[in-house]
């Protein structure tokens, strides 16, 4: 009992010392607390696949009431902005090439005649595919406007509606805003970088400066040194995650439907896994530079192949297996599901146990390496 208490006290003392070392300097305090919040604010606005500003040009070869009605629907949507009225088909190339317009709408000369005679009238839509996702979304918006035109035209001219109507609804995100999807995912992403690096560097720095040897002659046991290095990073990570969560709720006003207890459980496991990886890296690395390089080499794939911006299900099978060792992919799934769907622990088991496993494996490997090296 006494040994346990003593151990705990020693860990807490080390944690306090580490936290002081990180937080007492104003510059380093700022460098840990400000970036996640600022990034959440800026990227929260930037990271969306939704478009609110689609530039388009028109080549109207019909110039009738019908074509004007279609274009009025575009201009009145609030999303489409007409940048040019083209006169000749040759102008289409240059306006797309120069990126002045994302879309060119080309209305054929027979447009109204075809419509009135009950035939299908065609509209050519040319999109700049240099970013095919943006182009695809813009084309989807355009199709929606055409749908609206069709139904109002059908009403006015007595055309029967299509035999089957599709009624589509989106659950958990009724207005289909990507922001709702992105910002909860950033809670883990923005904390990973500094949490992992802080841990990886803390031991490497002590070793490079020779203070690690000094630590070893103290009554600390290897396990206690490790816990003393892990806890401060987790505290920093928790504060960072809290900051991003506040931005999501108070600034972007994304409704939080889950329970904070569930979210904390998931995030704690995630931080434990991240810190475990950081400790393992610092046990493997001989110098600070190596520790830094290794963490970069891991953080980049972790954050890009996490499902934050591109879905994991679209990745090739081999890469999907690789994401199984990525703690961030589980953390993103957990935060999104708790945040948007209110998922409980029972639904999140599939995400929680891999995180626990990663944490257990990395922490015990790091612990083994520390005690092994010390002898």
């Amino acid at each position: 009992m006494n040994t346990f208490l003593g151990s705990l006290l020693r860990i807490l003392a080390l944690t306090r010392k580490e936290l002081l070392a990180v937080l007492k300097d104003r510059r380093s305090r700022m460098s840990l607390l400000i970036p996640p919040v600022v990034q959440a604010l800026i990227f929260g606005y930037a990271a969306t696949y939704d478009l609110n500003h689609v530039t388009y040009a028109v080549l109207d070869q019909d110039h009738t009431a019908a074509s004007r009605q279609l274009l009025a629907g575009l201009d009145g949507s609030g999303v489409f902005e007409r940048v040019a009225d083209l006169q000749r088909a040759n102008d289409v190339d240059s306006i797309i090439d120069a990126r002045r317009a994302l879309l060119v709408v080309q209305i054929d000369p027979q447009f109204e005649r075809h419509l009135l005679s009950g035939q299908s009238a065609e509209v050519q839509l040319i999109a700049d595919g240099r970013n095919s996702t943006t182009a695809g979304t813009a084309m989807g918006y355009f199709s929606d406007i055409v749908e609206q035109f069709n139904s109002s035209w059908g009403r006015d001219h007595g055309v029967a509606p299509a035999p089957v109507q599709l009624i589509a609804r989106a659950w958990y995100n009724p207005n289909l805003e990507t922001r709702w999807f992105m910002i909860p995912g950033m809670i883990g992403t923005l904390t990973l970088l500094q949490t992992m690096m802080l841990t990886a560097m803390s031991v490497a720095r002590e070793r490079e400066q020779g203070t690690f040897d000094q630590l070893l002659v103290t009554p600390f046991r290897p396990f206690e040194i490790m816990a003393g290095k892990a806890l401060p990073s987790m505290v920093v990570g928790t504060i960072q995650a809290g900051g991003v969560l506040l931005v999501a709720q108070l600034w972007f006003r994304i409704p939080f439907v889950g329970s904070y207890g569930t979210l904390s459980t998931g995030l704690l496991l995630f931080l434990l896994a991240a810190v475990g990886i950081g400790l393992l890296l610092s046990a493997v690395a001989a110098t600070m530079q190596q520790a830094m390089l290794y963490s970069m080499l891991l953080i980049m794939p972790f954050s890009l192949l996490s499902g934050l911006t591109t879905p994991i299900s679209s990745m090739p099978r081999a890469v999907q297996y690789l994401t199984a060792i990525n703690p961030l992919s589980y953390a993103i799934d957990i935060t999104r599901r708790v945040y948007l769907e209110g998922a409980g622990l029972d639904l999140l088991i599939a995400d929680l146990w891999p995180l626990a496993l990663i944490a257990a494996l990395t922490l015990s490997a790091a612990s083994w390496m520390f005690s092994h090296r010390m002898q």
Binding site: Y45, E122, G129, N131, S132, R169
Partner: protein
């Protein structure tokens, strides 16, 4: 006296060149012998481009979808078969809503398509309804899925109309003929891979100088260099040149894998690509130099490099997200990012060709930034010496 003065003056340039050459030779040897800079310059770009080139994709295929068929009438079965035939869906059949709802909640399916019990009878009357519930979490994917469902439904209606089982004049109206220029196959790797080249160059350019220079500051070896007759700009040049060559080598690897592994077309000229990329590498190296002479600490320098170069290049460069849809304040920030101009250049040179109306303004912006950075790092270095 007069003669020696004039020889001094004529010797000024050759001796400058000699000093720079000596520095470059020393730095190159050091770079080649230092595994960490080789790792950043050669191994890192290769790993990143391979991993991300294969891993990142925004194409939506094989969407798992639950189909609730409340009564298996011929029409309903035929409609459900349309999903099995489509390459875009992986349907799971259920007979009622609760199990489908459970599948959606467990993320086993991305959507639920409901064919109600009265579907056939109402279809005969011409006003049938089907329902689609998509998981809105990933809004982009949800929208694409909805479009695919519309497609399956449209194909089914057209097939029935062709067989004379549905009246043909129904729903006749405007149809859209879409064409996606520069990327006819609608393959997202066409724009992701050039964007990845930007990310990789940003990171390795910045890291190479940020970490290596910060290490010299930490060890004090830069100070000892400063007491020699070598001038500030000569040090900068001597330090940058080997990394410049190394980063260009990494760039070459990226372009080769883009072209031959990921089959992204290179429709513009190689020279434009190379020229713009040399400018961009200079900028990335310059940012690293600036950061490291400012903070002089490897840990802070590398974190700052990640924060000010990599993350913005990822989020704010137009690589993934459309710049025009960002709020004005955020869009103004993007104008300060070199990656923004480089992404525009690479996407055009790779996919569209030599479009001078895109190339000229973006290259000019990059050139101005490179010049500003060169002057800036000289000033910072001088100041830190004083």
């Amino acid at each position: 006296m007069m003669g020696s003065e004039s020889t001094l003056r004529t010797n000024a340039w050759p001796s400058k060149l000699r000093r720079i050459r000596a520095l470059v030779v020393k730095e190159s040897r050091q770079t080649l012998r230092d595994p960490s800079s080789l790792a950043i310059g050669v191994v890192l770009p290769l790993i990143l481009i391979l991993l991300f080139g294969y891993g990142l994709s925004l194409d939506v295929k094989n969407v798992p979808i639950a189909i609730v068929m409340e009564s298996p009438t011929p029409e309903a079965v035929e409609l459900a078969a349309g999903f099995s035939l489509s390459a875009y869906f992986r349907p799971v059949l259920t007979r009622s809503m609760p199990p489908a709802q459970r599948l959606l909640l467990e993320h086993r399916v991305d959507g639920v398509f409901v064919i109600p019990a009265d579907f056939s009878s109402r279809f005969a009357a011409g006003d049938a309804e089907v329902q689609l519930i998509v998981h809105g979490g990933d809004a982009n994917r949800a929208r694409i899925t909805e479009g695919y469902v519309q497609g399956v439904l449209g194909a089914w209606t057209a097939r029935l109309a062709a067989q004379g089982r549905a009246s043909t004049n129904q729903g006749v109206s405007v149809s859209v003929q879409p064409r996606l220029w520069f990327n006819e196959a609608n393959d997202s790797s066409y724009f992701l891979v050039p964007g990845l080249v930007v990310l990789v160059m940003t990171l390795i350019g910045g890291l190479l100088t940020a970490m290596v220079m910060a290490r010299e500051w930490e060890r004090g070896t830069l100070e000892s260099l400063l007491v020699t007759p070598v001038r500030t700009e000569e040090i900068l040049l001597g330090k940058t040149l080997p990394y410049f060559v190394l980063a260009l080598f990494g760039f070459g690897l990226c372009v080769l894998s883009a072209k031959f592994l990921f089959h992204v077309p290179l429709r513009g000229s190689v020279w434009v690509l190379l020229g713009a990329s040399m400018l961009y590498v200079l900028i990335a190296l310059g940012i690293g130099l600036l950061i490291s002479s400012w903070v002089k600490n490897q840990l802070v320098a590398s974190q700052l490099t990640m924060l000010v170069t990599f993350m913005p290049a990822f989020m704010l460069s137009g690589f993934l997200f459309d710049l025009r849809s960002m709020p004005t304040a955020v869009r103004l920030i993007t104008y300060a990012l070199p990656a923004r101009y480089y992404v525009a250049l690479l996407q055009s040179v790779f996919l569209a060709g030599d479009v001078w109306s895109v190339i000229v303004p973006n290259t000019l912006a990059l050139a101005a930034m490179a010049a500003a950075l060169a002057l800036g790092s000289r000033a910072v270095m001088r100041k830190t010496l004083a």
